[in-house]
Assembly symmetry: D2
Homo-oligomer: 369 residues x 4
Amino acid sequence: MDKAKVVVFEKPNVPLEVKEFDIPELEEGCILVKTLVSGVCGTDAHCYRGQVQMPVPVILGHESVGMIEKIAPDRKKDSVGEPVKEGDRIFWVAGHPCLQCYSCVALKDTTGCVNRRSYGWSYSCADYPYLTGGYAEYVFLTGRSYFFKLPDSVPTDAAIAFGCGFPTAVKGFEVIKGVQPGQSVVIQGAGPVGLSSLVMAKLGGASPIVVIGAPSSRLEMARKLGADETIDLSSLPEPEARVSKVRELVGEVDLCVEATGFPEAVSEGIDMCRTAGRYLIMGVFSDLGPVPINPSLIVRKNLRLYGSVFWEPKHLYQVLQLLAKYNDRLSLQDAVTHRYGLEQSTSAIEDVEALKCVKAVIQPGYKAS
Amino acid sequence: MDKAKVVVFEKPNVPLEVKEFDIPELEEGCILVKTLVSGVCGTDAHCYRGQVQMPVPVILGHESVGMIEKIAPDRKKDSVGEPVKEGDRIFWVAGHPCLQCYSCVALKDTTGCVNRRSYGWSYSCADYPYLTGGYAEYVFLTGRSYFFKLPDSVPTDAAIAFGCGFPTAVKGFEVIKGVQPGQSVVIQGAGPVGLSSLVMAKLGGASPIVVIGAPSSRLEMARKLGADETIDLSSLPEPEARVSKVRELVGEVDLCVEATGFPEAVSEGIDMCRTAGRYLIMGVFSDLGPVPINPSLIVRKNLRLYGSVFWEPKHLYQVLQLLAKYNDRLSLQDAVTHRYGLEQSTSAIEDVEALKCVKAVIQPGYKAS
Amino acid sequence: MDKAKVVVFEKPNVPLEVKEFDIPELEEGCILVKTLVSGVCGTDAHCYRGQVQMPVPVILGHESVGMIEKIAPDRKKDSVGEPVKEGDRIFWVAGHPCLQCYSCVALKDTTGCVNRRSYGWSYSCADYPYLTGGYAEYVFLTGRSYFFKLPDSVPTDAAIAFGCGFPTAVKGFEVIKGVQPGQSVVIQGAGPVGLSSLVMAKLGGASPIVVIGAPSSRLEMARKLGADETIDLSSLPEPEARVSKVRELVGEVDLCVEATGFPEAVSEGIDMCRTAGRYLIMGVFSDLGPVPINPSLIVRKNLRLYGSVFWEPKHLYQVLQLLAKYNDRLSLQDAVTHRYGLEQSTSAIEDVEALKCVKAVIQPGYKAS
Amino acid sequence: MDKAKVVVFEKPNVPLEVKEFDIPELEEGCILVKTLVSGVCGTDAHCYRGQVQMPVPVILGHESVGMIEKIAPDRKKDSVGEPVKEGDRIFWVAGHPCLQCYSCVALKDTTGCVNRRSYGWSYSCADYPYLTGGYAEYVFLTGRSYFFKLPDSVPTDAAIAFGCGFPTAVKGFEVIKGVQPGQSVVIQGAGPVGLSSLVMAKLGGASPIVVIGAPSSRLEMARKLGADETIDLSSLPEPEARVSKVRELVGEVDLCVEATGFPEAVSEGIDMCRTAGRYLIMGVFSDLGPVPINPSLIVRKNLRLYGSVFWEPKHLYQVLQLLAKYNDRLSLQDAVTHRYGLEQSTSAIEDVEALKCVKAVIQPGYKAS
């Protein structure tokens, strides 16, 4: 029986520990994946700080690209029917909807599944199949896991660059049926969801596009990805000033995208939207309570507001297809600015918390030179 | 030259005065309409109280059914091309979009027209064509006015019963693409917009439908119109209690409709909506400022919120068609509970303000027996 | 080991034979269902005549309501999470999408699944779990099967009345986002899909509704279900005459629904649609080759045509919910006009072929009095 | 009173004649426009050949950019409210919907207006205001005409390059709610509508995009505009071969766009569409009668077909906005390959008929060097 190094979370604020786990025998429908990179998501920091309830001990890491080490003979294809074999690179889906609840079946929307579980934070690594998070040399996928083969032309780093933020944005844009060429867009937030939204808006022909966020490294990335204008939060800390600036830069805003996590951003976004404008709200996932919002603006401006949470396997598949078609131009791998070995996982999380990185990844075996 | 009695608003809180105006000569494209009934809208009360800016003096009344007294020879058809002649009953559209602005042309949405004017509150009756409001014996329509012939089977009172609230609801339901059979609906508010929303939900097969409002006369009307359940605000004054009651009565809510005018209702409505639910917000038109709202619920529940204001000529046409098809069953004329002559206009407004009526109308020449 | 009587199809046009099969042991995730009724679908007749390729021997019957005889201890809920137990009536879904192909995952539309299999015609009853069709005393559902508990108030016959035609129509109406109150609708075809479409149009407030079809028993059912007008094919055999009649009866047609199976109906439907009208095409499933159609009408009338095939579990769930809410009024059980024991299965199919029935069902143990 | 040279059509196939007309006095709401360029549309050739019924004599030319020579003092803004003055370049809308019919008001879709008239083919130039077509030194716009100021950065030739084909495509893409990034698109036809559809697909992020058409000069333009692949009709004259080629080049087709005018193209397009694909049909405007089409493919593939005819003022406005944002990259002026003076109008039409041009324009005063 082989062994795998894994990074285990036991308690909030206590540094993650590297341990060695046995690798289970391969059973029907299962796949053993050798981790190439696992993204460090902002959610991992929330987990580390104890803001997410988890069945400890847990192996963090819910956005990862790996190589198929072993695959059960009955599992010959990925989740869209593409043939796969040992040695192929795959991006697996961390979340497992139950497929037998009202949301999964009657609404056909697994993002509302009440029984949803996910590798990387809602499985205890004390239970079979143990290797249930991406901060590890190996991950063990059961028959419940969706996964997609990476197109050959897509660099591993490009696939992980915006991590789960990219399918989150793809799903959000699906909810709003996308942008139309020539629409003006403001994106609040320059993290993975914000930058992914920028990519979606840009690919869809939106123009002009403004990104509001911080720090400057992310805004620089935004400009590389085609933002026509960026507004640095540190230079315009007042919401009213940002609204004015946006109006000055682009006039009326057809679509506003919230990707900040701060509920206060919503009132600002509503102010920015034009008559008959649309507002896609994805960032305010954590419940930080109510904030003052003026609903008469929603009425008088004929606004449409769309909340969107999580994503489904199809959206990750779309991410990979978009990268196959557009990464030559986008070069998303450049967003991976920080890289850590398993042993540096705690530092990685702290750096992400401190907004030091555009994107940080755990790469088992990586040693800073 | 003939004369017409009209009711003139000069100053807030000063009783309306009956005057006699000359009737202008009929010109190309124009129609002289003899008022049959003019609805007393909640907005008229806001006007009377000085909460709406108006170019005084003004003849109030923006929802009216009249009879064609004289029609210019070049105006042979109504706004959908139906032949009309003297003696026909018509429902005319008070609002006049400019048809040459960004909203009217580029957005093709005249409800966002920045130059919108309207008979009944935004024309001074000191200017030609003077007879520019419904609280009058005659109204003078110029070529800018849309109007529709009443189907013969539709009682005048049925057409006026929910006044401009009915096309408001029809437009709102168009924005959300209606309900689907079997969807559960909660309607906040039992005034004209709320009751009209109830009619739209009922006709569209929604089930069950709950109406929350006051006073009891309106809730009784709601039950007559097919509400499965009603909740009286006076018996459940606490929002949390109403949310619980709704959950108890109908379980999850697929669609919530706000038709109250109170911004506080929005947070309550968001609470009521199910995962992937929809929320149509029409009532909070007056700007009463921001209220506490929790945007993380919008995200986590994948909600869609739609603001909708005003309506377009097509929606009034649809109202009349729906009445032609369904008023036998609906009997909307029963909603006209109070009737006043021109001379009682001020009392009419005060009664509406005091929520004494399901619907009040001004009927020139009417004398209480 | 218990035995179950089943009806086996071996060869086209050779009468079905009643045999006795062993009932397999219950395994994890499985359910043994005692058949209450199994609908005789037009497709069964196509199967019997050899027009559908099947892995013989096959037990026909893909739309059935049964009672849970035994259920594996790990299967405590139905497919929307409702608790179920032995003795409960359920409607199970015959089709099994693969959930791992482009259509199932990337399009999230299992009706396009290329690996789709279905109880009742695409499983050989020579293979485990043998009891794979509804023309049988018992059906054996594996973990792949979706199923829904019947609401207590819904008669078994009402649930089976339009068989798989009802969810087919529900899915079609979902594709077109339903009707809006007051829209005029023409339905071509008065079989299960056509009558189900009528129910959907009626519940959605369409008015007027015309049903075109045969024979008179089905048109009578259509009128009971609320069709405002019916046109008997036998009295108006010419398409042009039917188009004229429809125009005379309802004027312009907002929505046309094809539920005939005859490709020639499509050109007729296009003729009927108004400018900006919609056309839902569901009946022409069998490939009977090309027919003359004038595409310039599609362009000049700004038409939208929607093809729709099959349905998903959610649509059957919706059927049951609609019945719970509306069957008191609809009384769909009246559509079950013919009933047969297992031994009369061949006669049942022949009667369906001869259009003798509104709906025929197989009811194990049934003996004509 | 000033004079204007105009080109008059009297009879089919008789060369157009240059005449001199008096210029009417400017009245309220009117604009005198000096023609800069007027596009030669394929429809002009149909007119010239007598295939379009017209109230002769007629001045052809329904897509034109001109300079405001004189403007009535009450007309200070263009149709979206932008200030205009003498000397400004404008693109005027040839079509005049009635705004008082069922389609204009109840459907809010002026493309279905039954009373629609249009400069360039449905006004006799024997009647006031005479200057009612673009093949003329001056055009006289009345208050009924919509028009838009050209953004300064947009070359006149770029605005006229695809003439009325561009707003036709913009409206078609609005009907289908556009493409989403990464969708595969096939465009049938490389004329103005086809190339405009290519621009819309490309701007919307479609990939890959195939254009099928002729002659090679247009396909070359298609490749310059970003078509990933082109198929020359002359090298693949068989529909089946084209379907195979498309499948080989792009696999499944998410969206097919018909812009050919040949009804036979529709069956080919249906073949190309993937399961759940969409088909936008815009080219088959002229009624060339029915062709064989297999509706079972529409059903079995869950297809959606959208017919779209004409366009509204908003779509021309969008064209100009898109050019302001994207013409630096698109350089549409390169599509104007042929230029003619008023005197060469007949030759221009003949060259367009012979498919010699990507785009031909009439430019009053132009003399070939």
